[in-house]
Symmetry: C3
Subunit: 344 residues, 3 copies
């Protein structure tokens, strides 16, 4: 009898199944400091208790992406250990701030299954929820991945393809209780631009770049207790390279976006996302954003802005996302679609 976890295969999922993921995690000031060391993160609401208090919160919450990475990391052993590809995200919403001292756990419901025509793999859709110690949902999102079958001869399940919103509707965004940007200090936040200063279609080049190192992405990925071996073991892939966790690129791009979007303080929805190309140690990550939409919120002084956040490698480019063939250009690492909250 082997006691080590071989991961689940496509045959191991059924529609409606709910998987409680292992290893709850208490997060605190240590994770916050590590986040600041790993990424050039400077959004004031996550840097200063005073700034957060002045914005109506009880203190500085854990970065939205810390919540995401921890909730996501717990799903890996059950969802993506035998994944061939991470295909997409949808309907992601942050529902409650995560505070230092909170304990997070995750669970996922299988909402879609569709075998591929080759009979060797299939697509799995799960809706994942992150919960705190009071069983409140702090985050939810849908993710779909291509998963290997254990045995090509297994019969295909009835295909169920979930209907997913192409974007989270502005009315469905959840603004943290008490958030108030009426007395927002733009000097302390770092930039003078408010919600009204951004135009739909506008592109912001975030200018800075970070050349990434093996030690860093492994520290990050372990911090989120994500144990997919391709990130850690040089022998796990044929090319002898450690694949950088896609979430590391997300956090790097989000942090780089401070330069031009310092006031896009909180991420409240993940509309869509694609890890367009793999990222490896030695790549220099840069980012640009495009304003996709804007909406009002009922919170005082708070507007919502929908952003495409693109990470790419190599030289500052021409903001070209796709080639003539319609495919992502080879330098594109990430194409993320989010809603953020800004002062009006």
């Amino acid at each position: 009898m082997t006691k080590t976890n071989p991961g689940r295969f496509f045959e191991d999922y059924q529609i409606g199944q709910v998987i409680r993921h292992a290893v709850p995690r208490t997060v605190a000031e240590g994770e916050r400091a590590m986040y600041h060391a790993l990424y050039p993160a400077r959004h004031a609401l996550y840097s200063s208790d005073e700034f957060a208090s002045a914005s109506g919160l009880e203190g500085s919450p854990m970065d939205d992406m810390i919540a995401f990475h921890i909730v996501f990391g717990k799903t890996v052993p059950d969802v993506s250990l035998n994944a061939i590809a991470n295909l997409g995200y949808a309907e992601g919403r942050w529902l409650k701030p995560v505070w230092p001292g909170d304990t997070l756990r995750s669970e996922s419901e299988v909402i879609g299954l569709k075998e591929n025509s080759n009979g060797k793999s299939g697509v799995l859709w799960v809706r994942t929820r992150g919960l705190n110690q009071m069983d409140e949902v702090v985050l939810e999102y849908v993710r779909w991945v291509m998963v290997r079958k254990r045995d090509a001869a297994s019969p295909a399940p009835d295909a169920v393809t979930p209907e997913l919103a192409s974007t989270v509707a502005a009315l469905d965004l959840v603004v943290p209780e008490g958030l108030d940007f009426s007395d927002y200090d733009f000097d302390l936040a770092g930039e003078p631009y408010r919600w009204g200063d951004y135009q739909v279609g506008e592109i912001i080049d975030h200018v800075d770049g970070v050349t990434v190192e093996e030690a860093e992405h492994m520290l990050a990925t372990r911090l989120w207790q994500n144990t997919a071996k391709v990130h850690f073991d040089v022998t796990a892939r044929e090319d002898g390279k450690r694949l950088i966790y896609g979430g590391h690129v997300i956090s790097m791009a989000r942090a780089l976006s401070f330069n031009g979007l310092a006031n896009a303080q909180m991420i409240v929805a993940l509309n869509a996302g694609a890890h367009a190309n793999p990222c490896f140690s030695g790549d220099t990550i840069r980012a640009w954003s495009e304003v996709l939409d804007k909406a009002d919120t009922s919170a005082p002084g708070v507007g919502a802005i929908r952003l495409r956040l693109v990470a790419h490698k190599g030289a500052a480019g021409d903001h070209q996302l796709r080639g003539e063939d319609g495919k992502y250009a080879s330098n594109i690492l990430l194409d993320l679609d989010v809603w953020a909250l800004m002062p009006k």
Copy 2:
């Protein structure tokens, strides 16, 4: 007059001498987060305050290995700065949990001295105790090292070789006050296997591997305030390589052992240990365990399991610890013998 510490030589130790080691250390959430970033550590009791509370503790204690590394690190300037080799461990026991906010210090008593026949070095045995701010012993263990003599002409001391138990007796294991695994949540812990599912002689291959980097092992070794220069200075060894602190390999192997031993929650005794071969940056560390013994405890739902934890480098192997010559195989990094606590 030089004020820098040249370290102690074999002549500087006398039987019965007690050395109070320098630099007490307060440990808190920051050290816990760093530990999660440095190692793929997922044992639930050290990850979640909620899980620890449900197990009868007042919260999640600091990882047993954090306590070990900090207590050990303090001894380095007094015990092993001029050590040629770290020869062994025995009679190690964790006696009290270490909580965030505790301050640890160490002291060592010289319990054995035996000059080598070459007259250039000798073996030193010390019993080291780690104490918290209430002067409670939280950890104790015996370690022996080969230490250089300052002067080969110095007379040899009377040889004293301490009698050491080959293993800590099950009856001497100390279970943390209040620990209760009666309502253990196997889903949250990550694996279904309980104490009764493990057989003496069983071997568990932990499957995963981590390729180690210079930056990581130096971050770890400094975190424990272990300042042995071979770990940090490429010019300190003739081969120009930085030797990785043996404790880094211990923690890596322990963390990797989650996969197959997720429920071996707490390490309570260190029976023996050997750093079989040196580890360097670029090595890929893997681990396997062998069940050596089992014992009951008086705590509700808690059993004890004695494990051989082996770390090796390179490809997943044949679980061969030694060659035909009886010596450790060249790929073996660590051979550790511990008692751990599991739910029954």
Copy 3:
């Protein structure tokens, strides 16, 4: 309209101008743990709450250099993004301890401006203050940098060169309230040498060396939210090398100085400082100190010692700071002049 910050040029400064720097930062146990992981820091006052309490403080404050780096890091986007060189420091004083949980922000006053004869750049002097959440100044220092002009044709401002003290007078040193070294435990601190054991002119070789890695200096520099791109982006400099933040060398040298100056517990003044040569990944940093002066303080058991702290790379040297031409020798990285507090 571009929203990304191009940084200020020489023309953008006026005498008397006060710049409130962005992104306040709450510091806590996480930053302390990271500091211990990044540097071989062992000064007992910053390692142990118990040791600090026994020295009359309410607990262990954040390391003086953490306060410096955070206050400094905030000035980078406003002061040195277009700097050609960091020329010097003067009149630096630590005025209040920083405690875990404090929130720091920075502001700088322009106190000097002098255009260079080439018309392409000028020297800018600023007095920077770090403030806590109660608006108390915790740290102040003067820094001067050479800054590019936006346009060589811009008229030169009236030259103002501030008069700066060559050293902070001993009477102006601020000893933290309550500090008392009457019952100092030299065993726990790690060395027996007290204030009276050091002679002006004495040189202490700190012996140890650390070979630095890209991942480490980037973690450190980001931790202080210092975003100067030369530290992160291999394409930012013509030589394709990432320049290591000068403050990383300061902290490394300060930590290495434990070996020989373990009792120089607190840094209370920065008299002067020069980053003599650039530091790159792969360099092995070593340090030596020279006692420049000594002074009494009114606090019980507390003496002040003025130290030149020199960091160099490569082999242990001859303590030669400058060549025959009067310029810094090519292996010198840092020449720092500080006042520290020691037990008498």
